[in-house]
């Protein structure tokens, strides 16, 4: 007997398609919401963005489901409009945590509907006990693998899961984790879309957003030392690109070059395995040794001594500078180049910096 998702449920899970349809039913455009009669919704949207930036837990407001449902897409719009990757990620994380708490305890049938409506996933309820282990649901392997590889602990690896006829057996809390992680992925992924990159928040919302924007500026300085996690490919300076290109061709690099590329990658948030992979094509690649060395460099991050790549002057004297482009002229350090370029890209700047095309 299919349970209809009530308004309270749409407030809990505003990422659902049903929630979008519900909102569509109001026939409002984004600009309309700037009108004074919707100020409650706007304030709630601002609150959600602010809370996520400040790392505060986002609590669903039950008393007014309509406001909750309408505030969500507006909050998303604000988050995207602030044009800062870290804001979007914090918003996505806060939202996923909120959903997790709710999904963990959710009624089984509703959980199934949420999975279907939100992600097209087919969850099947089961009551299974296998020598002390209880399973509540089954999920197709492909759906499981859409998200699970992002979790690095052993119990999420497929090889450590109970699979029968293409279905992974899971506890409710695990399903909740997978779903809430999908919520996060969806929000972050949308930020990359052309339409979203170009999006600007209508001026009418200016007064509401003043406080948040001041908060973002204040926090930006703190977060700017934290470069985006994971390499932004097009933001690499030409010296780094040349080194990567050499490594891909199996060329053996000098010690300074290896140190430079490793520290650079670690500083932009790449994990040890990805750095290791860069070196795998070189003829005398000794995985154990390389891993030890990379981990050593990575392990220092967070402690007092932080290994950073050498600055441009040093790279020049070691013959590792491949020739400066226009942006290179403005910086003294490869990480500086990267941060500036990455920020430009995040802002969707079409203007290419640099006269010469790097390798």
């Amino acid at each position: 007997m299919r349970e209809m998702l009530a308004r309270e449920d749409l407030a809990k899970y505003p990422f659902l398609r049903k929630a979008s349809s519900f909102i569509g039913g109001y026939g409002l455009t984004l600009k309309d919401l700037a009108a004074p009669e919707y100020s409650g919704i706007v304030k709630r949207a601002v609150e959600r963005v602010r809370d996520s930036i400040e790392g505060r837990k986002i609590v669903t407001d039950w008393k007014d489901p309509e406001t909750e449902i309408l505030a969500y897409p507006l909050a998303l719009a604000f988050a995207y409009g602030l044009k800062a990757g870290w804001v979007i990620r914090r918003f996505a994380t806060a939202e996923s945590k909120r959903c997790y708490e709710l999904l963990k305890m959710e009624d089984g049938q509703k959980l199934i509907e949420v999975a279907e409506d939100g992600f097209g996933w087919k969850l099947e309820p089961i009551e299974m006990n296998v020598e002390g282990k209880r399973f509540d649901f089954m999920l197709g392997v492909t759906e499981y693998l859409e998200v699970a590889p992002q979790f690095h602990s052993a119990n999420w690896k497929l090889v450590n899961r109970y699979i029968l006829r293409g279905r992974v057996h899971l506890k409710q809390s695990e399903v909740a984790r997978l779903l809430s992680e999908s919520v996060k992925n969806k929000i972050v992924k949308r930020a990359m879309e052309e339409e979203v990159r170009k999006f600007e928040v209508p001026e009418a919302f200016g007064p509401y957003l003043e406080e948040v924007m001041r908060l973002v500026e204040k926090k930006r300085k703190f977060y700017d030392d934290e470069a985006p996690v994971g390499l932004v490919e097009e933001a690499k300076p030409p010296c780094i690109m040349a080194m990567i290109s050499d490594l891909a061709a199996g060329k053996s690099l000098s010690h300074m070059a290896r140190f430079t590329i490793t520290t650079f990658m670690i500083n932009v948030g790449e994990n040890v395995d990805n750095v290791l992979r860069l070196f795998s094509k070189v003829a005398d690649f000794d995985e154990e040794k390389a891993r030890y060395q990379i981990e050593h460099i990575a392990g220092r991050i967070g402690s007092k001594t932080k290994y950073a790549p050498p600055k441009c002057d040093v790279l020049k004297s070691y013959g590792l500078c491949v020739g400066a482009n226009a942006l290179c002229e403005r910086v003294r350090h490869p990480l500086q180049y990267y941060k500036i370029r990455a920020r430009e890209i995040a802002r969707g700047a079409a203007k290419a910096q640099g006269g010469r095309k790097a390798a």
Partner: protein
């Protein structure tokens, strides 16, 4: 070929090093004509489906899924027969040896090792068994894959390719495919997560049932088999304790009886300790793990040999075989394309080689007249030259 129009095709001509890529064919007739006209040494197609397979820019092809592919290659599987037909040589110091190549040279420690590999019926048989193992033990029961969606091809040289066309798996990303490859290779397998634990501090040891599906049952069955077959010496090496090994072997029957009960009783192994039990589990599952070239499985844009095309290094056909025919398939006979005629070749060096019904070698610097297929095989391997 499933959905030929959405596949990228690639060719490698004899004597060339650069592949001709980004070719699209809308039907098999035009592909056939092209092959007859151009006679490439190797024909490949993409495991991926693209909206625009002919686009030269990989990012503009419009990837919309890929078959799940497994590559079982005799080169990666240590077999006993390798010492009969394979050789390796250290390029640094010149040390030579027979059989499966070492990680590093035993004389100078360097890793630049050159190998000369051949296959024989035995290696190919071992490889064939890996295909059955992959399908019967993993893909069909655990992943629920239907044989209708499975394409088995002899690679044309050293092993087999398995193409899984199941639609629901086509969207898997590379990291998801890595998880599948790790699953069949047992990479990251943790016995504790499959049911072994001690309840309460001094409680009973519980574990999986041999009738369980997935890795749970597999581990239970493997341990059962291992214990029933192992000698005290084997066990001592694995768990590092002579006395524990002795005790275990003395109680073998009782332990085995407990494991097969429903629900299972692992009480007999309680005394061995969880750590040693893990080591036994590790040793037990070794034979049930699959030997695949995981790099092929991970690649969502892999170019793979076109089924039933000729392999430029052997002259044999990359025959597509049904599951039912696989058991009796003998690649060195059944994949022969050139069935008639003879040619004269000058053989530089070759081990014992059999193609079809004809066998020659070991040979060194000899001129022989052989059936065309065998002669071609030797020439394609680079071990012989044709003579007028």
């Amino acid at each position: 070929m499933e959905d030929l129009g959405h596949r990228e095709l690639a060719f490698l001509q004899f004597g060339e090093h650069m592949m001709i890529r980004h070719i699209r064919f809308m039907d098999e007739v035009s592909l056939r004509d092209h092959l007859i006209h151009e006679t490439p040494a190797h024909v490949y197609y993409s495991s991926a489906y693209y909206k625009e397979p002919q686009a030269p820019d990989m990012n503009k092809k419009g990837w919309c899924g890929a078959d799940l592919v497994f590559d079982v290659d005799a080169d990666h599987i240590p077999t006993m027969c390798k010492s009969d037909h394979d050789k390796w040589k250290c390029l640094e110091c010149g040390t030579e040896g027979a059989g499966f190549p070492p990680e590093s040279c035993p004389s100078c420690g360097k890793k630049r090792i050159e190998t000369t590999t051949w296959v024989c019926e035995k290696c190919l048989d071992v490889t064939k068994n890996e295909v059955f193992k992959l399908l019967d033990e993993y893909l069909i029961p655990d992943f629920g894959i239907s044989l209708n969606d499975v394409e088995i091809c002899f690679s044309g040289h050293r092993g087999y390719h398995l193409h899984i066309l199941t639609e629901s798996l086509r969207g898997l990303a590379s990291d998801g495919r890595r998880e599948v490859a790790d699953y069949v290779r047992g990479v990251g397998l943790d016995q504790k997560l499959h049911g072994f634990m001690v309840l309460n501090r001094n409680g009973p040891l519980i574990g999986p049932d041999i009738r369980d599906g997935g890795w749970r049952g597999r581990i239970a069955r493997s341990i059962y088999t291992y214990i029933s077959r192992c000698s005290v010496e084997d066990l001592k090496t694995v768990i590092g304790s002579g006395s524990a090994a002795d005790t275990l072997c003395r109680n073998k029957d009782r332990i085995l009886g407990g494991i097969t009960k429903s629900p299972p009783s692992w009480v007999g192994l309680r005394g061995v300790g969880i750590e040693r039990l893990n080591r036994i589990a590790r040793a037990s599952v070794k034979d049930i793990l699959c030997n695949i070239d995981e790099r092929v499985t991970l690649d969502i844009k892999r170019l793979i040999r076109y089924p039933n095309s000729l392999h430029g290094k052997s002259g044999l056909k990359a025959s597509r075989i049904t599951y039912n025919d696989l058991e009796s398939f003998e690649p060195l006979s059944d994949a022969v394309a050139f069935k008639d005629g003879e040619i004269k070749v000058y053989v530089r060096e070759a081990p014992r080689v059999r193609i079809g019904d004809h066998e020659i070698g070991p040979l060194k610097e000899a001129e022989v007249v052989v059936p065309k297929a065998l002669g071609l095989y030797l020439v394609c391997k680079g071990a012989a030259e044709p003579r007028a």
